[in-house]
């Protein structure tokens, strides 16, 4: 392509990102001129910006044409738009959760909202990236604000420790990823994802190439907190402000998956018979270790942290089913990941939202603080019960259909003579049962124990709205599962799976 074509930019395709970028800068600026209590008004400003961006995403989706910019490094097809819609909705809920929390800490409000919006720009770039360089930039744009946000509670040593661990491991993973990319580039001579796939189809499989591929996957493994690269997650979640923990466990992880999907289902697909078995082992280890460790947790945030590690394991299962050239199988695996991500976002943010509300009264976040919550705040306790049951995969909640999608992908692969598919399905079953036992422990504590404290939890309007909205989505998207599967399907078609 010539230079003129490469610099041709479709501004409409970039509009959602630009809207968020403008909001981020505006938030930073406006906060300087607000004093004391008024600083919290940057939150509604950020919400408006996100809503505008969401509107633009919808407009792009209605428009329906595939758009591109920066010489095809950035595209806005329905795959990317589905993810952007997801990310912006997540952003909306994270902002709702943050409002009261940060207004009460009363520090760094402008910085926080600037950072979180920047991270969301990175996320929105991720599914649009069709080039390794772009992908890397997007990934770092998600990570770097995360390092700072994790340390925002700087009066708490645990926050400092968590942020430091996150930073060091994050940098390690970024360098591993870059190293892997450089090796792969040496073999393919291109940084475009589609070009890499084409170059890898008939390449001699030298060990170095496979090592490079694995390095790239490992780099993403850190991001999605897959075992054995998960060590940062519990400490970081525990130390971070709870809305940031929600952000890390859902949004940042989903962004990691958005990138990983492109890398493994498009770029490295021709080599998948070599790396998929490794991913299978990692998936089983991730879910098992996450769940078994979660069993022993008494701190609710740590429990949710390990649970989110386990969920990363479930979401890795479809990656282990990728096979070169098996378009039908691969696309149902891809669709399973998408469905799971949507469901996971709804129920996990919901759980963190309730934890944020309860933490206002019980900053210790101990399991015992939830004793008798059903009598103190039936709404909060009922919602958290829904979220936990959904995380455990109970029908007809949205988490159930996510599990069905994973099972379907695994069994379909199993029937296509990959016995491993059945093994993975059984691993998911066993892990689901383990996970339900600790979800039920929290639920049981809320409804079956006597309260130690009689005062109701007061979430405030924004948080209350977030919890209620997510509870409705958990049930509604469960019953109307076609909505999610339809979006996922459109996205899969766009991704060319």
């Amino acid at each position: 392509m010539d230079a003129a074509e490469a610099t041709q930019i479709d501004w409409f395709a970039l509009a959602p990102e630009l809207a968020v970028l403008a909001t981020a800068l505006l938030v930073l600026l406006v906060e300087l001129f607000l004093y004391g209590q008024r600083k919290r008004f940057v939150n509604p400003l950020a919400v408006v910006g996100v809503l505008v961006a969401l509107g633009l995403v919808v407009a792009l989706a209605v428009d329906g044409s595939d758009r591109a910019a920066f010489g095809e490094m950035f595209v806005a097809d329905s795959y990317a738009l589905a993810f952007k819609g997801l990310f912006l909705s997540v952003a909306l809920f994270v902002l709702l959760i943050s409002y009261r929390y940060f207004a009460e800490i009363r520090t760094f409000q402008g910085e926080y909202y600037f950072l979180i919006l920047s991270a969301f720009i990175g996320m929105m770039l991720m599914p649009s990236a069709r080039d390794f360089v772009m992908l890397f930039v997007a990934l770092e744009l998600v990570s770097i604000p995360g390092f700072i946000m994790a340390g925002l509670r700087k009066f708490d040593p645990r926050s400092n420790e968590g942020a430091m661990k996150f930073l060091i491991i994050g940098i390690l993973s970024a360098s591993t990823l870059l190293f892997g990319l450089s090796i792969v580039y040496a073999f393919t001579g291109t940084t475009s994802l589609a070009g890499t796939a084409a170059a890898l189809t008939d390449v001699t499989r030298e060990p170095l190439l496979l090592v490079g591929t694995l390095f790239v996957l490992v780099g993403f493994g850190f991001k999605v907190s897959a075992v054995p690269f998960h060590f940062w997650a519990p400490d970081t979640y525990e130390g971070a402000p709870i809305p940031v923990a929600a952000f890390l466990s859902v949004a940042s992880k989903a962004a990691g998956f958005a990138g990983l999907l492109q890398v493994s289902f498009v770029a490295f697909e021709p080599l998948s018979d070599a790396w998929a078995p490794v991913v299978a082992v990692i998936a089983v280890l991730t879910m098992t270790l996450g769940n078994v460790t979660a069993l022993a947790q008494r701190n609710v945030v740590r429990l949710l942290a390990y649970s989110s590690v386990a969920h990363a394991g479930y979401m890795l299962v479809p990656f282990a089913l990728v096979r070169p050239g098996e378009a039908a199988l691969n696309s149902s695996a891809l669709s399973a990941v998408l469905v799971y991500l949507f469901a996971y976002a709804v129920m996990n943010i919901g759980a963190f939202a309730v934890v944020t509300a309860v933490a206002r009264r019980h900053p210790g976040r101990h399991l015992d603080d939830y004793a008798g919550l059903g009598q103190r705040s039936p709404g909060m306790a009922g919602s958290l019960t829904l979220f936990l049951l959904s995380l455990g995969g109970t029908p007809p909640l949205v988490g159930f259909f996510a599990k069905v999608a994973i099972f379907a992908a695994a069994v379909e692969a199993g029937q296509a003579d990959q016995a491993g598919g059945y093994v993975l399905a059984v691993a998911v079953v066993v892990n689901t049962v383990i996970s339900v036992s600790y979800y039920l422990r929290v639920a049981g504590r809320m409804w079956m124990s006597e309260p130690t404290d009689t005062a109701p939890v007061q979430p405030g309007y924004a948080l209350g709205f977030a919890v209620g909205g997510l509870a409705v989505l958990t049930v509604g998207l469960g019953v109307l599962a076609p909505l999610v599967t339809h979006v996922a399907d459109q996205a899969v078609i766009a991704a060319g799976g």
């Binding site: 455990g392 029937q415 689901t432 049962v433 409804w447 076609p482 599967t485």
Partner: protein, 514 residues
Amino acid sequence: MWESAALSVTVFLPLVGAAAIALIPHAKERSAKPVALAVTLATFALSLLILASYYLGPAGGQGRAFIVDVEWIPVIGAGYRVAIDGISMPLFVLTNLLTLLCVVYCFHHIEPPGRPRAFLGLILLLQTGMAGTFVAFDLILFFVFWELVLVPMYFLIGIWGGPHREYAAVKFFLYTMFGSMIMLVGFIALYFGAGAETFSMVELSQAAAGGEYGIVFQRLVFLAIFLGLAIKVPMWPFHTWLPDAHTEAPTVGSVLLAGIMLKMGTYGFVRIAVPMLPEAAVDYAPFLAVLAVIAILYGALCCMAQTDLKRLIAFSSVGHMGFVMLGIAALTTAGVNAAIFGMVAHGLITGMLFFVVGSLKHRYHTSTIADIGGGVLQTTPRIGAILTFVAIASLGLPPLPGFWGEVVALYAAFNPAEAIVDAGLLGLFRVLVVFGAIGTLLTAGYFLTMLQRVTMGTPPRRWVDAGLQDVSPIELGAWTPLLVTTVVVGLVPLLVFGITRPDVSRILTTALTG
């Protein structure tokens, strides 16, 4: 309109009722009871109407009727498919009857901590799950209803249960969920195994009859589905969750657990496992039969060792469900009919047993046989008489329903399906019949011993002085319909056999002869 809406309205009315009850303000908590009563009465009336129009309508009492088939999740071929046939009908009506009576019973007593709003809301949610399971004709929809019962039952046991309630509730939930999830994997395998890629039970049964599934595939998938169903039934050796759950559950919880929820497992064998995996069913039939007979003997022997009334009845359920499974394992029309009859009989009788024992526990504050100490016929003569009648019904005295279920099951196992005879297993089945018959003797033994220790003899001084109230009008109101139905079904077994026979023979003929 009636044809397409009747089932859905009947199934989801309790769900709407549960939502309505949840909206009742805390201060008016007591009004939850009349609301729940109105909802369950309406549901039961509707199910009677469905029963009547199934007979009088175009269906003429056989085949599927009230069919609804709309797309639900087109991507995975799951639909909202409901219908009712002769196999579902008795269980569907029984579900709505028992739930109604449970709600009536709640006017008499709810275990501490009370909270009738939450309690009745959960009961109604449970009703939707149970009734839906029996009319779902789509595997995913079936599974949704099947799992829907877990959550309310978990909370019923966990909040209103006995001293070890949390342990029992979690054990119940995890055990059942494990089996169910494996079963779900089996369902998905069925989906991909048939060329049609659908979850419709009718189409999958047709595909199976058309020989779509290879034998190895069938054997594997049967094992997966078997595990889910067997835990629910429960079959020996998967029964260990049951004694704990039944013992700890509040009275109404035990009644519904024993009366309906166990049948979901055996119903699954009749509706799913056998018609969709017929060759594997023939292969595994001897194993099912052996496990069933072990359950009969083991249940009876365990009963003899029990010191607690609720636990004793719980183990007696293991034995009774053993007879049901023996009937299914015979794979003949007689056997499956006996199985369904056995389910209904067990639902009526054991539901009633748990009611009486719950009422005893309410009065004596214990269900330990030694603490009650005998003489119930003197302290509370009417309750004692009812207990005696129900226990005798449960041990299978003719002509009460327990007898018909057991004797026909034994008869069927004596002459199992031709495929089983061809495999040279007739001898095995006949030996099993002998052991099953010994089981009926043991059953009579432990029930009579129990009656002797509980109802007869001189009551301990403290119970005589306690001035215990005999059966209350509300209890009588909740029990009379069950007692009358028990007698009527026993005297006229054709009431149930007549409903089930045409569809059972249709399903078996399609499945086994292709």
